[in-house]
Structure formats: structure tokens, C-alpha cells
Symmetry: C2
Subunit: 156 residues, 2 copies
């Protein structure tokens, strides 16, 4: 991959263009916990107001959050996850689980995610529906997809 | 959550202290693709050498990458994912899948992840082993875990 082509042939790089900074990911974390209003987000995160304004605008621009008027005179807005934003939950959950596993004190994780209907902890796995089994990260390989540059497809 | 307590009661915030910047995540992406040597990483990412040096040192400090001598006179090192680093694959895959879904052109994703043994595309899901079913992001709730601050446990 040549320098500068990063955004053109890598979905991770493209995603990180949208949410690839610590504050954006922390704003999303707060959104998933139901924190919606500017002042609440600001308090929750201890973030500078101008930085929060900037990141919220970017997340709204990319359709990850939706800005909704909830009060008039003065106008006040809240920020809600769109379906596209909810689609980021696997990434946030994966980051959380890694922290749970490697960065906790002896007491264990501060927060546990559970299946709403039964209350049991959830798991996150890779699945091969063809083999009907969960698969480990070491059993994954990558192949050029339909959107690969022509050279990559020719090499494969 | 009060300002400043972020790292103490949130595994996402803790994880982002280690890998929560665009370059670190892109270095990890390259590592998962088998790029190991400083000069290869530098070329692959188009990153400034001092920034790469800084990020690699941090990832090694946190046990995500391991630094190994592969040549002497002059000494040269490569950087390999540790088991702890491999544990970040669910996060990287989730970021990639979101980009595949929302940020691709009409051709489709540039890269497809497949099950090594059968070659079929893999899926990534939340699973409730108690109910023996995959669950949607909207069927998840959180509860204070054993490492939660006392106030959070009392409130739940």
C-alpha cells in the first residue's frame, strides 16, 4: 500500500477518519450510555466546550449522531445515535472487553454488558455461518474484495 | 461519572489511553496484516519516523507489540503482535466492518475477512450463551460490575 492511498483501500482507515480520535470514541461511549445533551456530555467527559462542539459537528456530519431540538427559547439540542451510530457498538464493546481483560484491577470490570431479556453476560465472537462455528482471531485470513484496487486483485 | 474519573471506572477509556489515537490503531492494522519492520511500517503508513518511534514504544510498553532483534550489525528490530495484541482483533474487525458497510464506494469492500479453513466470509456477533442465540446491539444493557465504584453498585 503506497503512502497516501490509505483511505482508498482500507475500511479501517476510512472509519478512523470519522471516529479515530479518543474524544470522538468517548463521546460515542457516553451516547451509548444515554448521555445526550451538550452540558451533560461536557460534564461527563471533562472535555473543552470548543472540542466537544467540533467533534459533535463531525459526528453529525457523518450521520453517526442526530441533532434534535428538545427545548425552545433558548433553543437547546440533544445528540442521539442514528442507526449508523448504533452500528458502531461492536467496536465500542470490543474496546471495552479488551480493557476489562487487560487493564482492570483485581476487583474485575467496572461495568458488565448483559443480554437485556435474561440478564446474563454477553459474549462477542467471530462466526463462520458456513461451518456453523465460532472462530478464533488466528483462524482468519483476508482476501481482496470487490472494491480492491485492480493490482491487489491481480496479485491474489 | 465525574470529570477526571474517566480512567477509573471505564474500560473503554482505559483502552483508549493505550491505543486511542489514529496512528496506533493504524499501526495495529498493519501488524495484523503482517507488516513488522520499522521501515515497512513507515512506508505502509506514510507516518513521520519520530511519531512511529513514539507509538511503537508505547505499544511495546503496554505489551501489545513485542520488539525482536532480527538482524545484527547493525541491530534491527521487528514488532510482532503479542497474544494481548491479538486480543484487539475484534475491535479492529469491528471498525473495518463498519467502514465496509458505510464508507465504501459502489464496488464493495476493498478487503474481505474469511474463515481460513473454508474461505467463507466471517461474521461478528454478540452472543448470549445462556439463551444460545445471537443478539442485536439494541438488546444489550449494562450493569455495574465487581470493579464498579461503591456508589455505582449501591445505585443499581
Amino acid at each position: 500500500m503506497a503512502t497516501g492511498d490509505l483511505e482508498h483501500d482500507c475500511s479501517i482507515a476510512r472509519t478512523l477518519e470519522v471516529i479515530g480520535d479518543r474524544w470522538s470514541l468517548l463521546i460515542l461511549r457516553s451516547s451509548f450510555r444515554g448521555v445526550r445533551r451538550f452540558d451533560e456530555l461536557q460534564r461527563d467527559l471533562g472535555i473543552a466546550r470548543n472540542v466537544l462542539t467540533d467533534r459533535l459537528a463531525k459526528l453529525v456530519d457523518h450521520g453517526v449522531l442526530e441533532r434534535r431540538l428538545y427545548q425552545q427559547r433558548p433553543d437547546r439540542y440533544e445528540y442521539r445515535l442514528t442507526p449508523r451510530g448504533v452500528g458502531l457498538s461492536p467496536a465500542l464493546v470490543a474496546l471495552m472487553r479488551w480493557g476489562d481483560q487487560h487493564l482492570c484491577n483485581d476487583n474485575g470490570p467496572p461495568l458488565v454488558l448483559v443480554h437485556e431479556s435474561c440478564g446474563e453476560p454477553l459474549d462477542q465472537r467471530f462466526i463462520c455461518w458456513s461451518c456453523d462455528e465460532t472462530i478464533s482471531p488466528t483462524a482468519i485470513r483476508s482476501t481482496p474484495g470487490p472494491g480492491a484496487p485492480r493490482t491487489a486483485r491481480a496479485e491474489s
